[in-house]
């Protein structure tokens, strides 16, 4: 710990001082003083040796450095001397800091981190705002409402992209990207990949180079160019094992041969929402070829996200104002394209626009790319951040209490050092160095824990399932800086008060041997408030845990209206492989028959949308009576309904009871009259009078009576367990084949569905060996995935609540144990005077439980205030009030029981005090 030469220099100084004293004594003795007198006088004359040594050392020029080393040396000695104390303090801090580091790494990855591209601060993301009554046709992307209630759309038509690129503006680059669903068939193996179509300048504008091969160029984004694709590093690793020979090879994308020309760098997961990663990137020019009838280009859908890069020194506002005019122009061009396409197909041209309120262009910072899903995670993540922050506070309070207890036992040492001339500032600095040392050690272990916490965090919470599968929270330099800063802040937080208090000793009594009895009351007041705060905070977290656990429990217990057990789900997208019309119908028929033939399969059905998966088709519909009354062209929709296109046996296979009418049959095909089955809430809401069977409705005003209701089903949940069953219409798949380009198969098995996966895969392969299955899971797993956020809250609140409770219990235990040691003498006297063991135990228990009770009362009050004010959080609850008295009482009792155990151990020890030993101890 010392620099070379330091010890020699120190020894020399000591020797110099000693020789000074020797000479002074000798002189005095020679002058006739007795040796004793001489020594005393010489020492008096010399003054404070320690201080002279210290101020002289200061002259060596590196005093602060040497002092720091000395402080560290003292600190290490201090830690070595109390290994138990050190272990508890470091572990406590490591838990608190580790939890914070892990959450921070996720917060950083989801909310804070910039895109890993050149100068992300220059990037601009465009959106359109308003224009609710301005019909733009199809929009493929996200539509949200901003804080002022305006509609914000994420995507633009291709026309806007070309206009923006032509226009001279504050932007040096404009680029576009949109999602595209891809079936990938590579080296004889088929699977579904996430894809994106981008403008040719996408990679150069972002400044993202290829790690192998090359990225795309403008020349590739041209219908005449050979079809090429770039894959992400993730996909390269997971699908092709990182084989560099993949570059230059051909793969089939939706049955079109593409050449892989390059791999984008690791860590770059595109510019779409956080946690998503496009596996394969192709030029926009190939979208219409790959998507065929569903092409957004051909159908004039708004599907492209637009971003740009600002010229140096240019501002967002400039870009926005320079491009607003061209944006309006591009809307008109898009409309003209829609009209001419409609005319070419001989259908009615798009409805008239409301010209008064077209959408406006808005420019946003693009440093994080598309940010919509980030916003969804803001509330839960910051809530968790507060939770782990509270846990760290409790940990700090614990360590502060430990330090106070230690400081009390070091009172003599401190008093001696003060008496020897050490400055109070110097001592505080030394004590703080010790706390910072503890904190640094805690931080180091915390970082290790964080590696492990973080993976656990991702595993328990799966952060929205598939949606966030590409999330990669890393413990990098940023996180390290955060951890170090946090540790030191914690070190100062828990170290300052004890250091301040420890150095405020009254010298005289402390130096006398019996100072022990003067256990200073302000110290214990401080300790007591820390204990109360700890109990209150952990109660708060435990109540949160209780509420979210009940919510999860309630949601899992919800009856969805169908049987979720032994049900295997998987998804296919034959539309991507070019299946449509009769071949598509044949495929589904053959698949169903083959799977039905698999041993152990009880029934097979399929639907356009899976249940309890937050996915649904919502449409307007019309009722004939209202439509007729309104007259041609002015009919208002009767309302919005949820639609699911299903196999004829769907209700039976899913075990949704039919209340009246009939189920679908294979006869309900394209040639037969159109029919539907509705659920109860549809009937109740839209056809309240009498039997709905035989009534009619339609999806077009001109055909408002086109579909006959032939059956009435019991309500079944559709999108999630939380939402009530919406008015729902089931349509027979044979009459709605165009909606079934992709479908989810529901296979009811006998026994564990996962045992049948291989056989089912094989059955599908026998029908089409290139048709990939995706999202294979049980219905129960699917339902749980929908509850990801609830599970996240329940699990993490419980985890951190328990952690907080354990820490608070340890703190309570430590405080009482220390106080029993301090009061041994007093307890001994009490017992000598006739106090029974029971009354001694009661005395100690009372001390601990009074504090706990105070903490519980404060915690309950805090929890009710929070529950009544945190609306956004209480919206996450289900089937339980945020101030649920049962939860409050149960948690409070539970906490009191834990506190009782924590108090009992030191209380029992107090009763073991032997009055004779305690009294002799003085």
């Amino acid at each position: 710990m010392r620099l070379p030469g330091w010890r020699r220099r120190d020894d020399e100084l000591d020797e110099e001082i000693r020789s000074h004293l020797r000479m002074a004594i000798r002189d005095r003795v020679e002058r006739g003083e007795t040796p004793e007198q001489a020594e005393a006088a010489a020492r008096r004359e010399f003054g404070n040796v320690g201080l002279v040594r210290e101020v002289t050392r200061d002259m060596w020029g590196w005093g602060w450095w040497e002092r720091l080393l000395q402080d560290l040396r003292y600190g290490l000695r201090f830690m070595r001397r109390g290994p138990g104390f050190t272990a508890v303090a470091v572990l406590t801090l490591a838990l608190g800091i580790g939890a914070n580091t892990a959450i921070f790494s996720v917060v950083d990855a989801v909310l804070l981190r910039n895109l890993p591209v050149r100068e992300p601060g220059q990037l601009v993301l465009f959106r359109s705002v308003g224009g609710d009554r301005f019909d733009i046709g199809g929009h493929n992307g996200s539509i949200v409402r901003d804080s002022s209630g305006q509609t914000v759309k994420s995507s633009f038509p291709y026309q806007t992209y070309t206009r923006f690129r032509e226009q001279q503006s504050a932007l040096s680059e404009v680029f576009a990207f949109g999602t595209i669903a891809l079936n990938v068939n590579a080296f004889g193996q088929a699977d579904v990949a996430s894809g994106q179509a981008v403008s040719g300048n996408y990679y150069t504008a972002l400044g993202v180079p290829a790690v192998v091969g090359r990225t795309l160029t403008d020349d590739d984004d041209n219908a005449a160019a050979p079809p090429v694709a770039v894959i992400t590093h993730r996909y390269w690793q997971s699908r092709f094992g990182g084989d560099p020979a993949v570059v230059g090879k051909q793969i089939n994308l939706n049955n079109n041969a593409f050449t892989i020309v390059g791999v984008s760098p690791p860590g770059f997961n595109g510019t779409m929402n956080v946690g998503t990663s496009p596996d394969v990137t192709i030029p926009i020019s190939w979208e219409s070829q790959l998507m065929a009838e569903r092409s957004r280009m051909k159908n004039n859908v708004w599907w492209l996200r637009l971003m740009g890069r600002l010229k140096p020194g240019a501002s967002l506002e400039e870009a926005q104002s320079q491009l607003s005019g061209v944006f309006q122009q591009s809307i008109l061009e898009h409309r003209a394209a829609r009209i001419s396409r409609a005319q070419a197909e001989g259908v009615e041209a798009p409805a008239p626009l409301d010209p008064n309120a077209p959408p406006r262009l808005a420019a946003f910072p693009g440093n994080q790319g598309e940010t919509n899903t980030r916003l969804d995670y803001k509330l839960p993540l910051y809530t968790l951040f507060i939770v782990v922050g509270l846990v760290l506070l409790i940990a700090c309070a614990n360590v502060a209490n430990l330090l106070l207890a230690r400081a009390a036992s070091r009172q003599r040492e401190i008093a001696v050092r003060l008496a020897l001339g050490a400055g109070r500032g110097r001592l505080i600095r030394q004590l703080l160095t010790e706390s910072l040392l503890l904190a640094t050690l805690g931080g180091a272990f915390g970082l290790l824990l964080a590696f492990w916490f973080k993976d656990g965090l991702l595993a328990v919470s799966d952060w929205g399932g598939q949606q966030m599968s590409a999330l990669e929270p890393r413990l990098d330099l940023r996180v390290l800086v955060f951890t170090v800063a946090l540790s030191w802040a914690a070190g100062i937080l828990f170290g300052l008060a004890p250091a301040w208090r420890a150095t405020r000793v009254d010298l005289a009594p402390s130096l006398k041997d019996n100072f022990r009895s003067s256990s200073s009351s302000p110290r214990s007041l401080f300790t007591k408030s820390l204990i109360v705060a700890q109990v209150a905070i952990s109660l708060l977290l435990m109540i949160g845990a209780g509420l979210f656990m009940s919510t999860l429990f309630n949601l899992r217990r919800v009856d969805p209206g169908f049987n979720t057990s032994d049900l295997l789900l998987f998804e296919v997208e034959p539309g991507l492989s070019g299946y449509e019309k009769e071949p598509l119908a044949n495929l589904y028929r053959q698949m169903s028959e083959r799977i039905e033939a698999v041993p152990g399969v009880r029934s097979v059905t399929f639907s356009a949308n899976p249940l309890l998966a937050r996915s649904a088709t919502e449409v307007f519909f019309y009722l004939p009576a209202a439509a007729a009354a309104a007259g041609e062209g002015e009919a208002r929709p009767a309302g919005t309904i949820h639609v699911n296109e299903v196999r004829e046996n769907f209700l039976g296979a899913m075990e949704i009871p039919l209340l009246g009418g009939r189920a679908f049959t294979t006869q309900d095909d394209a040639r037969a009259p159109k029919v539907a089955i509705v659920n109860q809430s549809f009937a109740k809401q839209f056809l309240p009078d009498g039997n709905p069977i035989g009534k009619r409705f339609g999806f077009e005003p001109a055909d408002a009576g086109g579909i006959e209701i032939v059956g009435l089903a019991l309500d079944a949940k559709y999108t999630s367990q939380r939402d009530k069953a919406p008015p729902t219409v089931y349509l027979p798949w044979g009459q709605e084949l165009s909606a079934l380009g992709s479908a989810t198969f529901e296979v009811r098995t006998s026994g564990d569905p996962s045992l049948h996966v291989a056989a089912i895969r094989q059955a599908v392969r026998e029908v089409d060996r290139d048709l990939p299955l995706k999202g294979i899971k049980t219905q129960v797993e699917q339902a749980d995935e929908t509850l990801a956020m609830e599970r996240l809250f329940a699990k993490l609140f419980s985890l951190f609540g328990l952690l907080a409770l354990v820490l608070a219990a340890v703190g309570l235990y430590g405080m009482l144990a220390w106080s029993v040691t301090q009061r041994k003498h007093e307890i001994g006297i009490r017992m000598a005077l006739g106090a029974s063991r029971v009354s001694v135990m009661k005395m100690v228990l009372r001390q601990g439980l009074t504090l706990t009770l105070l903490g519980v009362v404060l915690g309950l009050a805090g929890a009710s205030v929070l529950a009544m004010n945190l609306r956004s959080l209480s919206h996450m609850l289900y089937g339980i009030e945020p101030t649920d008295p049962m939860t409050f009482v149960v948690i409070a009792v539970f906490l009191m029981l834990v506190a009782l155990v924590a108090c009992y151990i030191p209380a029992r020890r107090a009763t073991k005090v032997d009055p004779l030993v305690a009294l002799r101890y003085e």
């Binding site: 110099e16 020789s19 000798r26 003054g47 201080l51 002279v52 101020v55 002259m59 020029g61 400055g423």
Partner: protein, 121 residues
């Protein structure tokens, strides 16, 4: 702690003069810390007493500045002592400190005795 600040203040107050006194004492030959303090005390007719809390920091500082050097000698009664001597640099420093002190004390004297100055002129 007030004690420490008291020492520090005195070091600063005395710094210029203490340096001069130390260097001047060493002009007559190498000397140890105790000897220097005794010499200053005796030569000033017991008026100036140098605090060890000022002397040793000053010695160590002068050594760091290169004006004095030190080595360990064995004294008459066979004990090792640290002895300081003036360096060539230190001699120059002493000369300039001296003349600065003389100018200073002259100026103080003149300021305290304005008539005398007029009379001379």
């Amino acid at each position: 702690m007030p004690k420490e600040t008291r020492y520090r203040n005195r070091i600063e107050l005395l710094q210029g003069t203490l340096d001069l006194l130390v260097l001047q004492t060493l002009q007559w030959g190498p000397q140890h810390g105790y000897g220097i303090s005794q010499a200053i005390k005796t030569n000033s007719g017991d008026v100036l007493r140098v605090d060890t809390g000022s002397l040793y920091p000053a010695l160590h500082r002068l050594e760091r500045q290169g004006w004095v050097s030190s080595d360990w000698k064995v004294s008459d009664n066979n004990q090792s002592v640290k002895v300081y001597r003036l360096t060539a640099e230190g001699k120059k420093r002493l000369a300039s400190e001296r003349s600065r002190w003389e100018q200073f004390s002259e100026a103080i004297a003149r300021a305290l005795n304005p008539q005398g100055q007029e009379g001379e002129a």
